[in-house]
């Protein structure tokens, strides 16, 4: 069975979106745009799968209210992961491989601005020994950044270079929250947010949503001129105990990349919410300097929680569907300091 990405759409990445935390206001027009682009209606979709978080929404079962946006009548086949929707895409891929459906629509949404995002993210940590201290996501990433700087793996200038490159690339992405031409000297003259990280080193707080269409074999060929065929798909997780990890690399990202086979990649869309993680992931996954990194601008230019990973895969697939790349990689991460990593390799034929 062959499975391909045949469509991608995303809501504008915004600091304060006009939306409830259940995302319905973002998802209704998003589904409309995505389905219309392939001449489909919601009744043509065989399987729906989503990623979101109740802790982010501050309410129980927020994803159930989101299902209103599907119009799930007659009853439809639907599932949800409390993770970035890139993992929902993995579930949908498996579902299509079983032959139970020939199309799937995968979506993720997050209103990161509803609470204190850095503080909410502490709840993903070990609940006995770490979460009771409320270490926030930026502070933990900053500990990782300093370890790499001390080891000579990256410098604050190289980190700023990543921000400069990302913001310039985002000029071509209408959904991006941040874009523009900046220079390294200006960025490095800014104060620290969490020494050694400055604002440009950290992804912005973003409200948003993303959706991806999948189809199998002939159905994909019939609906899309140049489908982005999934040739490798893998995800791995490192221990939740931060002290046991070598934070200057990512074993899980390296293994996922090897399992998905990232040889010969033209374009990589990497989900790196911090500048140093862009460099770290590139090293861990063995991507050489010929690989075009994050033509969308990446998570540093818009990081809607629980949708940003899916958006990386959607953006990578867009490069294939548009004929700009032959072989592309979409990556998603989750957990503190790149604990969990997913790699999806896509190919045009």
């Amino acid at each position: 069975m062959e499975v391909a990405v045949i469509g991608f759409a995303q809501a504008p990445n915004q600091r304060h979106g006009q939306t409830t935390t259940n995302g319905v206001e973002m998802l209704v027009p998003l589904f409309q745009e995505l389905l219309t682009s392939r001449g489909l209606s919601r009744k043509d979709i065989g399987f729906w799968c989503s990623g979101s978080s109740d802790y982010l929404a501050g309410r129980a079962f927020s994803f159930v209210t989101a299902v209103d946006a599907i119009g799930a009548w007659p009853p439809t086949m639907e599932s949800h992961v409390e993770m970035d929707a890139a993992w929902a895409l993995y579930e949908a891929w498996v579902k299509l491989l079983t032959g139970e459906a020939d199309t799937a629509l995968v979506y993720g949404f997050g209103k990161s601005s509803a609470g204190n995002l850095r503080r909410v993210m502490a709840l993903q940590l070990d609940p006995y020994l770490v979460a009771p201290l409320w270490p926030d996501s930026v502070s933990i990433a900053a500990l990782q950044a300093r370890l790499g700087m001390q080891a000579g793996l990256w410098s604050e200038k190289e980190m700023a270079d990543v921000a400069v490159r990302s913001r310039a690339a985002a000029l071509s992405n209408p959904a991006a929250q941040i874009s523009g031409h900046v220079n390294v000297e200006d960025l490095l003259s800014q104060p620290f947010v969490a020494d050694p990280l400055r604002a440009h080193d950290c992804a912005p707080i973003t409200d948003g949503a993303a959706a991806v269409l999948l189809a199998t074999g002939d159905r994909a060929r019939e609906l899309c001129e140049r489908p982005a065929w999934i040739t490798g798909f893998a995800h791995r997780v490192d221990t939740q105990n931060i002290g046991l990890r070598d934070l200057t690399t990512s074993v899980s990202a390296a293994k996922a990349a090897a399992d998905a086979n990232v040889d010969g990649i033209d374009v990589a869309e990497i989900h790196a919410p911090f500048t140093h993680q862009d460099i770290l992931l590139r090293n861990a996954m063995g991507l050489d300097s010929s690989v075009v990194m994050n033509p969308s601008g990446g998570a540093l230019c818009g990081n809607p929680m629980f949708a940003a990973g899916l958006a990386r895969i959607g953006s990578a697939a867009t490069e294939i569907m548009a004929g700009r790349a032959g072989r592309a990689l979409g990556h998603a991460t989750s957990g503190p300091a790149l604990q969990q990593n997913l790699v999806c390799v896509l190919e045009g034929r």
């Binding site: 209103d68 009548w73 609470g115 006995y128 270490p135 620290f192």
Partner: protein, 314 residues
């Protein structure tokens, strides 16, 4: 239609967790001003103690005491601490390798300013005055001072309670906002789906059948039919009405989806399927943008609705 309504919302919950054979002794030791690590299959000592070996994944059983002093391996600066973090003034987060351990732990260092902390710096645990058997028994780390006095022995700690409190700015949808604003004026307003024409109360962001936003407003009188109900006999914390009382599924006239509400104004055992009821509003001075403006429904002076008129809601 104005801007969608917003309001602050706070949710809180105390998570209570049992500890088991590794974390129980670890927490007990903290209450006694001692730190325990566990020895792994490769001889390395992990502090705080961990339950499973990172190499073989076998349960770890050998607990060893490590020092409350150690070395900073990495740090980051927190200029504006969040609610619940170890210190309420600027501090450093640090990965600290305790003397006698081979892998570091995450905690706070009370350094005052970023000029006073560096990798390689020596630190020592500062113990909380009142200790309960929690990672918070270590208030933070700081520059080394006098060696610790051994703490008094305590009863084994077997449980840990972690309070979680989160604040949000909650937003209502445009449809919910119109509904809430109407309630504040003493009106009950539903919305109709443009596709299937069903009328929803409360209105939703999208018709769950058709997946399209509901737009057309439908003004309701507040009379309704009981479809099914239950009699609440059991008292519970926070209960607002003295049992027995009736909680019913009612279809408000002009709508197509039942909602739940309280039925008062007659003995509980007189409530029946098909009974006609009407909304009882609170005194106007108590109205807000809230469904609580309708206090309850009471029997209306009307014959019961025929079964066929509501059977499809059951």
């Amino acid at each position: 239609m104005g801007m969608p309504l917003q309001a602050p919302m706070e949710i809180s919950f105390d998570y209570t967790r049992s500890l088991g054979p590794v974390l129980g002794p670890f927490m007990t030791a903290l209450a006694e001003r001692r730190i325990l690590g566990s020895r792994g299959s490769d001889g390395r000592v992990h502090a705080p103690a961990i339950e499973y070996d990172p190499v073989t994944f076998e349960p770890l059983t050998e607990l060893v005491e490590v020092a409350s002093t150690g070395t900073v391996l990495s740090w980051s600066w927190m200029p504006d601490p969040f609610d619940g973090q170890p210190l309420d003034r600027p501090f450093a987060w640090a990965l600290i390798l305790l003397d006698g351990a081979d892998t570091p732990m995450l905690h706070a260092v009370d350094a005052g300013s970023p000029e006073n902390i560096s990798t390689g710096m020596r630190v020592q645990a500062r113990w909380a005055a009142a200790r309960t058997g929690s990672i918070r028994d270590i208030e933070c780390f700081a520059e080394p001072g006098e060696p610790d006095e051994p703490g008094e022995r305590v009863e084994p700690v077997t449980m840990v309670t972690t309070p979680i409190r989160l604040r949000y700015q909650h937003s209502a949808s445009p449809q919910e906002s119109a509904y809430l604003r109407a309630l504040a004026e003493g009106r009950l307003v539903a919305q109709r789906c443009p596709a299937c024409t069903k009328v929803y109360l409360p209105p939703r962001g999208a018709c769950p059948t058709c997946g399209v936003p509901t737009e057309e407003e439908v003004e309701l009188t507040g009379t309704a039919t009981v479809t099914t109900f239950c009699i609440v006999n059991v008292p519970f914390p926070g209960q607002r009405t003295k049992p027995p009382y009736v909680y019913a599924s009612i279809v408000v006239d002009g709508t197509d989806i039942p909602m739940l509400h309280l039925i008062l104004g007659c003995p509980a055992d007189e409530v029946r399927m098909g009974m006609r009821v009407e909304a009882v509003w609170k005194p106007q001075e108590q109205w807000g943008m809230s469904p609580e403006n309708i206090d309850h429904f009471r029997p209306a002076d009307e014959p019961d609705a025929p079964f066929e008129s509501y059977a499809h809601h059951l």
